[in-house]
């Protein structure tokens, strides 16, 4: 079995504490019909696997499990594929150990 598929990122995120800012995602994906190579790269490089393909083959982001590293910004912001900010003060991931 392939290692990648055997690692359940959702289980890892379950260890973490979050305060989700409901209805105010801090990352947005620009509307598109066909994803750019940069957007497709985010499917794999995001350590919290926040990016997923929907049934139309477009890339969607769900920021609830985001650990705020900024990797997607470094890749996807220069092309305009995503808009990236920090969550509002106090919201987002709350590291106990860091």
């Amino acid at each position: 079995m392939n290692v990648e598929t055997s690692v359940r990122v959702e289980d890892k995120l379950f260890y973490n504490r979050y305060l989700v800012d409901v209805g105010r995602p801090h990352i947005k994906v620009r509307a598109h019909t066909k994803p750019s190579p940069q957007l497709l790269a985010l499917l794999k490089v995001c350590p919290a696997r926040c990016y997923e393909l929907n049934d139309k083959g477009q890339v969607d982001v769900t920021v609830d499990g985001c650990i705020e590293c900024g990797t997607c910004r470094v890749i996807g912001e220069p092309t305009g594929d995503i808009e990236w900010s920090y969550p509002r003060g106090g919201y987002g991931v709350l590291f106990k150990f860091g």
């Binding site: 990648e4 890892k12 973490n16 794999k44 990797t71 220069p78 969550p87 106090g90 590291f95 860091g98």
Partner: protein, 435 residues
């Protein structure tokens, strides 16, 4: 709206921000520090190793009450292939000293303590507040910040940008470029909890002795990167990081790499039976000297990771952060004591002071190293580790083959993989970048 005006606003409460805020507050400046986390440390991620010398310059008696984990008595460097590791270990009783040089720490806990010292020194620390924008006057001088908490602007004579590696504010204000994918690494880390005595048995430690393993090789799948294992009191920090552009190119996943590293036969026994309590990720500045942006301007300075001050070769970052924060603060105090305005010309003293410190001297020394490692990642992180493993196995396995023949086989494997020109070229390039 906060009507009062501050001498300085510090954005961020990590190592560099706390160092800057503490230094300025101690010198009687009116300091406001803004942090987006629920407390200082709750957004901060590091391995982590604390370098005592740089903290002593800020808080000489920090050992009295800082939340330290273990003082390091042993350093292990591993070159790994999929089934082996070849190691250089250094352990010395000299490190069991009265004032140890390096400690493992847990950043969320350490930073909370550091922040309490900043408050004691008289700074106002406001958490759960994200700075959204720099406020500038008609001439472009930075005069304060805007936050998501309050209407309007908060004003100060100078803003210290200690906002971390992403440096969002500085990028938005066009003070510097966004970090590029080939100049930052993405590291992921897990905290593995075990009883204290189990950790001490796994790593051959006693009391508060600590240990670090740093590992490179096929674990990064041909990408530029490395793995690390730090022994804390009751948990083990384990992680791996690689250059973002390499992840992008290869399609490897960070959690896949970490999982493979954890299951490596040399690593798995160290964390066996542990309970994971946190999973984190962070970017690390890897561009070195050549990636350092403009460090000061009218009404602002930038410090720490936001200034990309990280020594990737020696894996030092938090000490550069603390030192740059302290030096920036000292420069600001100096300008203020001369009753001069916080202009770019006056704040340039910060860069002069930083140039004279180990921070810039060390980064300058290794200025060609990041590029060398990145452009030759297949050789340095895949080919050589495999060759070294085969050579070591050939050397130690006793099977009746005459030694002269064994040596010939090893030499041939190196020449076949890299050619004589390649071998000498690699040696020359490393020597040149290192000197």
């Amino acid at each position: 709206m906060i009507e009062e005006k501050f001498d300085a606003i510090v954005v961020g409460a990590g190592m560099s921000g706390n160092a800057a805020a503490l230094t300025m507050a101690k010198r009687g400046m009116k300091v406001l520090q803004l942090e987006r986390g629920e407390y200082a440390g709750s957004k901060n991620v590091q391995g982590a190793i604390l370098y005592a010398d740089m903290l002593e310059k800020l808080i000489p008696d920090f050992r009295d009450d800082a939340p330290l984990e273990r003082h390091l008595v042993e350093q292990r460097f591993w070159i790994m292939d999929d089934r082996s590791h070849f190691g250089v270990h250094y352990r010395s009783e000299d490190f069991n000293e009265e004032r140890p040089n390096r400690y493992t720490i847990i950043r969320a806990q350490f930073d909370k303590w550091f922040s309490s010292k900043v408050r004691e020194a008289g700074a106002t620390v406001l958490c759960e507040t994200t700075v959204t924008e720099l406020a500038r006057d008609a001439h472009g001088k930075v005069i304060g910040v805007r936050t998501d908490r309050r209407e309007g602007e908060i004003h100060a004579d100078v803003v210290v940008l200690a906002e971390g590696v992403n440096g969002l504010l500085g990028t938005r204000a066009r003070l510097r470029e966004r970090p590029k994918p080939d100049k930052v690494a993405l590291a992921v880390k897990e905290m593995h909890f075990l009883p204290r005595e189990t950790i001490e048995a796994h790593f051959n430690l006693k009391g508060d002795e600590g240990l670090v393993v740093e590992a490179a090789g096929t674990i990064s799948r041909g990408m530029t990167g490395m793995g690390f294992i730090y022994a804390n009191k009751e948990c083990i920090s384990i992680g791996i990081g690689c250059i973002v552009a390499d992840f992008q190119r290869t399609g490897e996943t960070p959690y896949g790499l970490l999982d493979r590293f954890k299951r490596h036969p040399s690593v798995a026994p160290l964390i066996e039976g542990s309970e994971v309590k946190e999973y984190s990720a962070h970017l690390i500045p890897e561009g070195g000297y050549k990636a350092i942006p403009q460090l000061y301007g009218d009404g602002w300075v930038v410090v720490g990771d936001a200034a990309q001050l990280n020594n990737a070769i020696h894996r030092e970052g938090s000490n550069l952060a603390m030192t740059s924060g302290r030096i920036a603060a000292e420069a600001i105090v100096q300008v203020k004591s001369h009753r001069q305005p916080m202009t770019a010309a006056n704040l340039s003293v910060y860069k002069k002071m930083l140039d004279d410190s180990f921070v810039i001297k060390d980064l300058k020394k290794h200025k060609d190293m990041p590029m060398l490692m990145h452009t030759n990642s297949q050789n340095f992180f895949l080919t050589y580790p495999q060759l070294v493993s085969r050579a070591m196995q050939n050397y130690v396995r006793v099977d009746g083959t005459p030694k002269a023949e064994k040596e010939k086989v090893t030499l041939k494997s190196f020449v076949n993989a890299r050619s004589w020109t390649g071998l000498f070229g690699d040696a020359f390039r490393i020597a040149r970048a290192w000197r």
